[in-house]
């Protein structure tokens, strides 16, 4: 297992290095004069030139690359044009909000998708199966912003069951002391249970928006993997020797279907880390997605570059976690090299 992990980590470091190189050069290729953007619309040519010199923007690209890499290994992702603040600090301040939203959304999507997928596979061809497939189609084709708007309009503004989309907490509510950055957990850890409940209230609609849509691919994958598992020889044998249906479904069937399911959940989670920009914008959710949205609209390339690199690194970490999970679920994977020799 140690060798397996070491190998994965080595590959991951190379991948991160590759991401940084690609992002660095992509940002330089994108048209845009960072110095004039930083100087603002009323800046003189002299001021723009001074900024370009100050930030090394007039240096040759290889020199800029070496500077950037030396900054990167020291945790320096540059300074945001929009806020004049270090990008890394701004991203880290916003990351917990996005992670909290992502985790609860994936949890909800899994809680919906996995049972429904198993149910559909177990009752293949019945009305139950057809109904879940209808849901899968609706979930896959539903636009996030549209569902979000509907939920906000009906549940926040018409029925008043949930708060309007202002933030992670009510306006003026002080955030709990930071332990994890997750308000739902930090509220409990600091003894402020009302803050935890409030955080759940504010999470409910964005989580449901994302969870409803993201459950669809999980459902489809669970169903397909379960059908394949249930049709396999070992399940038929298990059935023949009188093993109970419950055991067949959850032990023999589901465990063998787990690998593709975990992959799908991993992809969904990865998508959440980088792709929930629309939901964060819609719900005024102060996460990295909204930060990226602001960076895109204002052409804050340093901030955008930092965001892409951070999401890339999170993807790599996520892949390591998934790889480790594969190894734990199916020992043949981590022992693959030994078995082949």
């Amino acid at each position: 297992m140690r060798r397996y992990l070491a190998k994965r980590l080595g590959i991951s470091l190379l991948t991160i290095f590759g991401i940084v190189i690609v992002v660095f050069f992509l940002v330089r290729v994108v048209p845009g004069d960072a110095a004039s953007l930083r100087a603002g619309p009323y800046a003189t040519e002299e001021r723009i030139e001074a900024i370009a010199d100050q930030y090394g923007l007039n240096d040759p690209i290889p020199v800029q690359f070496v500077d950037y890499m030396s900054g990167f290994v020291r945790g320096d992702l540059g300074v945001s044009i929009r806020t004049n603040q270090p990008v890394l600090g701004e991203l880290l301040a916003r990351l917990p909000a996005s992670l909290e939203l992502a985790l609860y959304s994936v949890l909800l999507a899994t809680l919906i998708g996995v049972p429904l997928g198993i149910l559909a596979a177990a009752r293949r061809g019945t009305w139950v199966d057809n109904l879940t497939r209808v849901y899968a189609v609706i979930g896959s084709s539903m636009a996030l912003f549209w569902l979000g708007l509907l939920l906000i309009f009906f549940f926040a503004f018409q029925l008043g069951w949930f708060p309007g989309p202002v933030d992670r907490l009510a306006v003026g509510t002080e955030a709990p002391p930071t332990y994890t950055g997750f308000y739902t957990i930090d509220g409990v850890l600091s003894g402020r249970f009302s803050t935890t409940m409030e955080a759940f209230r504010y999470l409910a609609l964005p989580v449901f928006t994302l969870g409803f849509v993201l459950a669809a691919p999980i459902l489809k994958m669970v169903r397909a993997a379960m059908i394949e598992a249930l049709d396999s020889d070992f399940v038929r044998t298990a059935k023949a020797v009188g093993i109970s249906r419950t055991r067949m479904l959850y032990v023999d069937g589901f465990r063998n279907a787990l690998i593709p399911v975990i992959t799908t959940i991993g992809i969904v989670f990865g998508f959440m880390l980088g792709g929930n920009i629309i939901v964060e914008f819609l719900f005024s959710w102060p996460g990295v997605g909204r930060y990226a949205f602001d960076a895109i609209t204002t052409r804050d390339l340093e901030a955008l570059q930092g965001f892409v690199i951070m999401v890339g690194i999170l993807y790599v970490i996520l892949n390591i976690v998934i790889d480790v999970a594969y190894g734990l679920i199916d020992p043949r994977i981590r022992l693959g090299r030994t078995a082949s020799t």
Binding site: P31, G32, D33, A39, G40, P41, Y42, A43, T44, R47, A50, R82, T83, N84, Q85, E90, A93, R94, A97, L111, I112, L119, A122, R123, I152, F153, A156, F157, G160, W161, F162, P163, G164, P165, V166, D167, A170, V171, G172, T173, E174, R192, S194, T195, M197, E198, F200, R201, A204, F208, R245, L249, F281, L282, S284, P286, I296, T297, T298, R299
Partner: protein, 565 residues
């Protein structure tokens, strides 16, 4: 038996989730910790509509005590607090609350709003203000005026701020100073602890107006010096995220990640703050901002597009404040990007083809007036009729187009992604120009890309809104029409217009300014380098119990007079 297990699992999962959501929906937030501003407010009130926005439907309104903390949402986030750096609209509103300019306007009340007049008066931090015949202005500070940290505001602080605004390399203020004939930090002199002078090179029409701008609010020199470094001798980095206010509010807290900033009344400010504090929240989507205002989660919503303003005006719980503005909304026509636009008759034909009134009625929902030229209908020296400003006349348009000798052509019209009203107007214009044989391709661009292409003069036709602080026609034309000006995005150049701008900027005689203004308008009509679409009104929407809405020269939202009735 076994066939039912999956259903039970499903039901159990659904039940847990439903219970969780119901628990969250029904949970109370009564004992939620509040910020300092709300704590301050709670001396007179406790249950704030601002802290329990979702319970407004359940709350018995007449018995409900009212918090006097105002919750405001602006059109952008707050990115920078440094008053000498260019920043977001939201930041300007906050820095106006933090930094007190030397002068203020005299206000008159109209339809419940305080509207600034062109008359100025010493602001709360001044005792007196005099201007000598040679233009030298003498300011005497109010001895009771203090920064938020309790230190008195001294003449040396005001002079430090003025010197910093001109000497700091990062400051954008040197762009403004030529309009008041100041080109050196030597123009500022400390006379004694409370008195200082500004000596411009000559008297100017704009001096008084400029002194009402927030960028001329005192900064405590000792604090700046303490936070200065060799690379940053004026402590811009420090003041980017910190402030020691000289204005009506001090900085209570600022959670940049959450986009929430709390302003607390500055007890050292000699004026009267009508509320217990202000919470500024960033709600990026305008439609959500409007709904949150209707729901009572916000007290004030700024930056709403005309469509939403039009919807809100019929809501009995909302007051919509609207007043004519001097902003100008136009379409620039850049001949270098589209050679057919180099033909003056083509530009004139286009100007005649535009359905101006339809745009004001259907796109701006009546919240706009005639622009005419860069000197708009609400601006000093406007004489649209005498200048012969364009009105819709398809016959003249066709005639000019035929006379121009230019055949049918295609042109790109660039629109900002964030400006829905421009996108709607683009469709009207596309339709109108089709009749002239001009095929308009509407290109909606992200704001950043739009700005960059506009700066690089790559856009053939583009929407642009401009608002000049100070309501001055010559100041406005300097930026938009002067040959070679960075913000003259249409790239047009008329040497006579340049002469008029130069003359009018320093002209103090109203009749002479009128004459110069008229000639400028005639030139702009003749040149037709831009399509002057409309002059958008200033709008602000509040809950109906909010009073003290104020509009000044800068149209930046003012907070100190806002109160809950």
């Amino acid at each position: 038996m076994t066939r039912k297990r999956p259903s039970r699992l499903l039901l159990l999962s659904a039940l847990i989730m439903a219970l969780g959501l119901i628990a969250a929906a029904c949970s109370s937030t009564d004992d939620t910790t509040t910020t300092a501003a709300q704590a301050a407010a709670s001396s007179t009130t406790t249950t704030a509509a601002t802290t329990e926005p979702t319970e407004t439907t359940e709350a018995p309104e007449p018995e409900q005590p009212i918090s006097n903390t105002i919750v405001v949402s602006l059109s952008t986030d707050i990115n920078i607090l440094e008053q000498h750096l260019f920043r977001s609209t939201g930041s300007y509103a906050v820095t106006r609350a933090l930094y007190q300019p030397l002068l203020d306007q005299v206000y008159t009340e109209k339809d419940g709003a305080l509207l600034g007049t062109s008359e100025v008066t010493p602001s709360e931090i001044l005792d007196s203000y005099d201007v000598a015949a040679d233009g030298t202005a003498t300011f005497t500070l109010n001895a009771n005026a203090k920064f938020a940290n309790g230190d008195p505001i001294k003449a040396s602080d005001a002079v430090y701020m003025l010197q910093r605004s001109i000497d700091a390399p990062a400051s954008y203020i040197p762009l403004l100073l030529p309009f008041i004939a100041i080109d050196s930090a030597d123009s500022f002199t400390v006379v004694d602890d409370l008195t200082f002078t500004i000596t411009p090179n000559q008297p100017t029409a704009l001096f008084n107006r400029f002194m009402t701008f927030q960028v001329f609010g005192p900064i405590e020199q000792s604090l700046a010096d303490a936070n200065a470094t060799d690379e940053d001798p004026y402590a811009f980095d420090y003041f980017t995220t910190n402030a020691n206010a000289s204005g009506p509010y001090g900085l209570g807290s600022w959670d940049q990640a959450r986009g929430e900033l709390v302003l607390e009344p500055n007890t050292g400010w000699p004026g009267q703050v009508a509320n217990a504090g202000v919470i500024v929240r960033n709600v990026p989507d305008a439609a959500q901002r409007a709904l949150l205002l209707q729901n009572g989660d916000l007290d004030v919503a700024a930056g709403l597009p005309p469509r939403l303003i039009n919807e809100l005006k019929d809501d009995p719980n909302i007051n919509v404040y609207s007043a004519p503005s001097t902003r100008v909304n136009y379409i620039g026509m850049n001949a270098t990007a589209e050679p057919n636009l180099a033909n003056k008759m083509v530009r004139q034909a286009i100007s005649y083809a535009i359905p101006y009134q339809a745009l004001i009625d259907n796109v701006m929902f009546g919240f706009a007036s005639t622009a005419g030229t860069l000197i708009t209908s609400n601006m000093d020296t406007y004489q649209g009729e005498a200048a012969g400003i364009y009105t819709t006349d398809m016959a003249k348009a066709t005639e000019l187009m035929d006379a121009s000798g230019v055949g049918p052509f295609e042109v790109e019209l660039a629109v900002q992604n964030s400006r829905s009203q421009d996108q709607q107007a683009a469709v009207f214009i596309q339709d109108a120009l089709r009749e002239l044989g001009i095929t308009v391709n509407i290109n909606v661009l992200p704001d950043g890309e739009f700005a960059e292409k506009q700066n690089n003069r790559e856009l053939a036709m583009f929407f642009h809104e401009w608002f000049s602080w100070g309501d001055d026609p010559f100041y406005q034309m300097t930026f938009l029409a002067k040959c070679g000006a960075f913000t003259n995005f249409a790239g047009a150049c008329n040497e006579r217009l340049d002469e008029i701008i130069a003359e009018g900027t320093f002209e103090t005689d109203p009749a002479a300014r009128d004459a110069l203004g008229l000639e400028a308008q005639q030139l702009m009509v003749e040149d037709a380098d831009r399509i002057y679409l409309w002059s958008a009104d200033w709008n602000l929407a509040t809950r109906s119990n909010i009073t003290g809405v104020t509009k000044d020269f800068t149209e930046v939202p003012r907070f100190e007079n806002l109160a809950k009735g």
